[in-house]
């Protein structure tokens, strides 16, 4: 041997370069990761809706359907923009992670609280036009065919309301836990 250090000792004797993460940093980073993942899925879904309904605008012959599809495409683009503006993920800071995390929980809670206005309502004009067209302009169609779109929309709306409430309750619990920690 030529006096070279043993590789295992060399490896294990390396100095530590990062400070350990606090639990607040862990919780904040985990939350932001989940927000980022959720938003990525939403952005992809919006992009698919915009591309598909834009294609229908160009392809469908009926002007009412063209207009309905155009409104849906615009709504999807608007929702993606609002999602980015109101509820995008943010990098977790090294310091004051607890304050940051609480503020982010409140921000997401507020975004969810108003989601009916920026996430659901934008689709109503386009969907409404589809429904009106199926009921008013096609009276000869059998009623199950005319009822399917309103019924699907209603079921989707109810599931959405239930999910939204559940998500808001979870956020409220997390905010309350942080407030309890601060009081201790």
């Amino acid at each position: 041997m030529t006096g070279q250090p043993d590789p295992k000792s060399l490896w294990r004797d390396q100095p530590t370069e990062n400070r350990p993460m606090t639990l607040a940093q862990i919780h904040a980073r985990d939350f932001q990761t989940r927000v980022r993942r959720r938003n990525t899925i939403e952005y992809v879904a919006c992009a698919i809706v915009v591309a598909t309904f834009s294609y229908y605008v160009a392809w469908l012959p009926d002007p009412v359907l063209k207009l309905a599809c155009g409104l849906i495409a615009v709504a999807a683009a608007f929702v993606a923009w609002q999602l980015h503006r109101r509820a995008s993920a943010r990098p977790t800071p090294g310091a004051d992670a607890l304050d940051f995390h609480r503020a982010e929980l409140v921000r997401q809670h507020e975004a969810l609280g108003k989601a009916w206005a920026w996430y659901l309502a934008p689709f109503l004009p386009g969907l409404g036009l589809f429904v009106v067209r199926s009921i008013v302009l096609q009276p000869e169609a059998p009623w199950p065919a005319r009822a399917i779109l309103p019924a699907t929309t209603a079921v989707y709306g109810l599931v959405w309301v239930w999910n939204n409430r559940r998500a808001r309750r979870r956020l409220e619990t997390s905010i309350a836990e942080i407030d309890a920690l601060r009081r201790d």
């Binding site: 041997m1 030529t2 490896w11 004797d13 530590t16 350990p20 639990l23 862990i26 980073r29 990761t33």
Partner: protein, 173 residues
């Protein structure tokens, strides 16, 4: 104890015991200091999450290394640019003597060379190499990586030969 508090407590214990090992492991997967800091944080978050499901059926050390290596391996495989240059332990030639006798002096240079070797390796070989450097025995390495005892033994044998050739001048001058 509520599930979240239990999860926090288990994570805290694991971070206390294995925090430095996680840092060293991240060094074996990422050269850049900024990206490495992110990787260390991702590993810690993955560890914290994993303790929501930890049922104690394996040792804490095994669990921590499994989660940490899986997270780091996913990270390194997601970086397509780096992935192209990986080799297996069996593809690394054993040098006939020290690579560069002048550069071989000093722990810093030796550590740099050790890291360079580790960064060349494909993920399964890299996992074995990093766990070997952490002084885990073959059985423990097999538990973490899921490799058979034979596969671990072959890799360790090969790794020892490469390390001996690179870090000890075995030949008489």
């Amino acid at each position: 104890m509520p599930k979240n508090a239990d999860q926090d407590q288990r994570y805290h214990e694991a971070a206390q015991a294995f925090g430095p090992a996680v840092e060293r492991l991240a060094r074996g997967y990422e050269r850049d200091a900024g990206r490495r800091r992110d990787l260390v944080q991702d590993i810690h978050v993955a560890l914290w999450r994993s303790f929501g499901d930890f049922d104690g059926r394996c040792a804490l050390r095994t669990w921590v290394y499994r989660v940490a290596h899986n997270t780091a391996t996913s990270y390194v495989l997601s970086r397509r640019r780096d992935r192209a240059g990986f080799v297996g332990l069996d593809e690394i030639p054993e040098p006939q003597g020290p690579d560069d006798p002048e550069a071989a002096v000093g722990a810093r240079q030796a550590l740099d060379r050790l890291l360079a070797l580790v960064h060349e390796l494909k993920p399964p070989d890299r996992q074995v190499a990093l766990l070997y450097l952490e002084d885990l025995d073959a059985a423990a390495i097999g538990e973490v990586t899921g490799l058979s005892p034979g596969a671990v033994a072959v890799r360790i044998h090969r790794l020892k030969a490469i390390l001996a050739a690179r870090f000890h001048d075995r030949r008489p001058s």
